[in-house]
Structure formats: structure tokens, C-alpha cells
Amino acid sequence: MRDDIIAVFAQVFGRAPEQFGEDTSPATVEGWDSVRHVELVVALEERFGCMFDPEEVPELTSLTRIEDILRHHG
């Protein structure tokens, strides 16, 4: 799952997968603003076939947290 999440990040932010890791967050990734976050949310939902709850959307700010939430969606 982690590799798939990183692939989504690479696609949304237009960077190499190696640039995303445990410290990935809006504070460490240049260009991670509200508009880019929308792209990330939509891309994750399309890739994993789920729909995030409203309260989950702002939580999608690290690879670990995204993994947790996606597991919750099964």
C-alpha cells in the first residue's frame, strides 16, 4: 500500500517517488497548498476506490496517517 500511496504523491506533485518518506508533510513538500491537497485527495480516492469522510480529509497529511485511514476504509 505504501508504494501505491507514494506513486500517487509522485504523480500529484510531479516528483520522483524517492523524494517522499516518513517526513512527508505540508511543511516539507513545496507546493502542498489547499489546491494541491484537493488533487491529492481525489487521486487517492480514485486509486484506492474509496471516499474519505469530511473529517478525514484534513488528516491526510502524512504517509503513515494516509495508510491508517485507507486501512480503515478496507
Binding site: P26, W32, V38, V42, F52, P54, V57, P58
Partner: protein
Amino acid sequence: MPIAALEASSPAHVFEFLDRHVSPRGIAHWRWKYQLDAADAAPRAFYHLQADGSVAGFIGILPTVLHSQANQTRAAWFVDWATRPGEGAVGSGVALLRRAQAATDVLLTLQGSADTQAILPKLRWSMVERPAVWVLRTSARAIAVRGPLRERAWLRGPALLAGSVVARARRVPRVAGAAFALEEVERIPTSYDAVWEARRGEFAPLMERTSAQLDFMCGRYPEGGYRAFLVHVDGAVAGHLILRIDEKDDLQRGRIIDALWPRTRAGALEWLVREACGILQEHGVDYIECTASAADLERALAGCRFSRLRPVPVWYHRLPDGAAGPDAWFLTYLDCDRAYR
């Protein structure tokens, strides 16, 4: 980090967030706009709290009903969508938008900021640009201060002279209509609801125009300024007209906010537009604006020398089955006046 519904008892810093990040209107405005003192408890606004208790974002909704033939669908305009700047609020906007979507069947918005216009297409929202603001400049000053004349002081004198000639030529004359009359009222009476029910089918789908809704949006607006009229045709109430006069950029702006009229009655709309212009001109407005989305209203405005100024994009996240497309929606300033948005 919870999303909470706005209530009269919400913490003061939520209202402070609105004053700072949406518009400095004050708590009385927000209590009116989201009907926080109303008996029904339907939430009309939501805010997103962060772990430290601060407000990360806000969204409001103005409920309405989309009518399509025999069907009715819950709909709502979303307004006052704002997030706190900075990385800490990333995602709050989309979270709140989804919370608003969950509160209704069809979520809509008009115009939208640059951010809104960037975000909504990414969420697969659709947009049409059928409605537009129409304008008629009615004073020499309004005609003369446009464009490069603002920067060239020496041109102002001749421009004002030329403007006064143009303004006289553009003056909309009122026309005698023995069958038609306007009655100014403090409040739209509840008896008007029967007229609205009869008239709605001619304009569907559109924002609710019940007496309660019109009274809320125009009669009880905290800053006032709206004038309401009943339209009489052959001695019976057959529609309404809402006007507003305010100041913008040192010019007095008159607006035809909203109207309903018997759509099949020949000459009724042309008479109504001329009456509205006549009232606003007598008040000395520098220009008159009207938001229109219907061909008959556009023709009546063009007939009074109004020109199409700018589109008012309508955004929607989905449409119910069988609903008419937004190209057919009847929209006016009642839907997009800044006072409400």
C-alpha cells in the same frame, strides 16, 4: 479535529474568524444570515476546529429547493467558504465542502473566488455561464468616469458634458400601463405565497420566493436598503419587485434585485423593467444593474439599453434525475447579491 455546526452559542472566536477571513460584518449579520435564532434547528453553517481549538475554516449554506415538474430536490448555495491561511489548514476547505454536500442533495455556488474556481473543477464540479450582470449607466458622472478618463483629469470636463447628453438619451421613460400597478410594501404578505405557488411553474427551477424567504432576505436584512413592491395586474397581485440602492466606488448604484411577473401577459415585463428603472432614476442613481438568466428578461433589459457586463458562473456538484439543467435556471440578484453571499 471535528467539524461543528454554527449555533448562536458557538464560541466568540468563530464569529471573529468570520469577521477576519470572510467579511467584517459583525455578529448581528452572521446571526441573521444563518438564522441562528430561528426555531428550526437545521444547521446552515459549519466550521472546522483544530486540535488547539482554533478555527481552520468555515462554510455556510443557503438552503433552497429545485423544482422540476412534479419533483422537488433539496438544494443549497454554499457561501462564505474560507480557510485560515497557512499549511495548518490544508484540507479544511474540502472537508467543509463535503460536509455541506452531505447536508443537502445538490450543492451550488455562484461566481467564486480564484481559489474556488481552481478547486471545484478538480472535484469534478460543473459550471455554466448563462446568467449575467447587465448594466445601464444613467448619470453623466457614471458615463464619464469610465476607463482612461479616470487617469486624464483634463478630459473630465468634456467627458462630463458628453456624458450628460448620453445620460439624457439613455433615460428610461416610464410607460402608462392601465392594467399594471406597483404597490410598495414593508413586508411581503403571507397571502403572496399563493401567487408564488402559481407563478413558480413559469420560472422553475429557482430560488424560493415565499413571503418568509423574501422577508428574511430583504425585509430583515440588518443593514436594510431593500424596497419591496407587489405587482398588480388587472387589480390582482400577480408578482413582486425588489429594488436596492447603495453606494459603490463613490457612485450610487441602483439594482433590480428580483422580480416575478405573469410571464404570458404581453407587455408586463417590459412595463415592470421600465417602472423599476423609473423609480431608481427618480432616486438619482448613477447606474442600474440587474442579474438576468432568462431570455425574456434579457430582451426587456436590452430594450432599455442595458448592456451585458459580465457572466455570473453557476457551479454545481451534481444534478438530480429529471432536473432541468442550470442553463434553464432563473437567477437574479436574490441569488448572488453580496449581502447574501
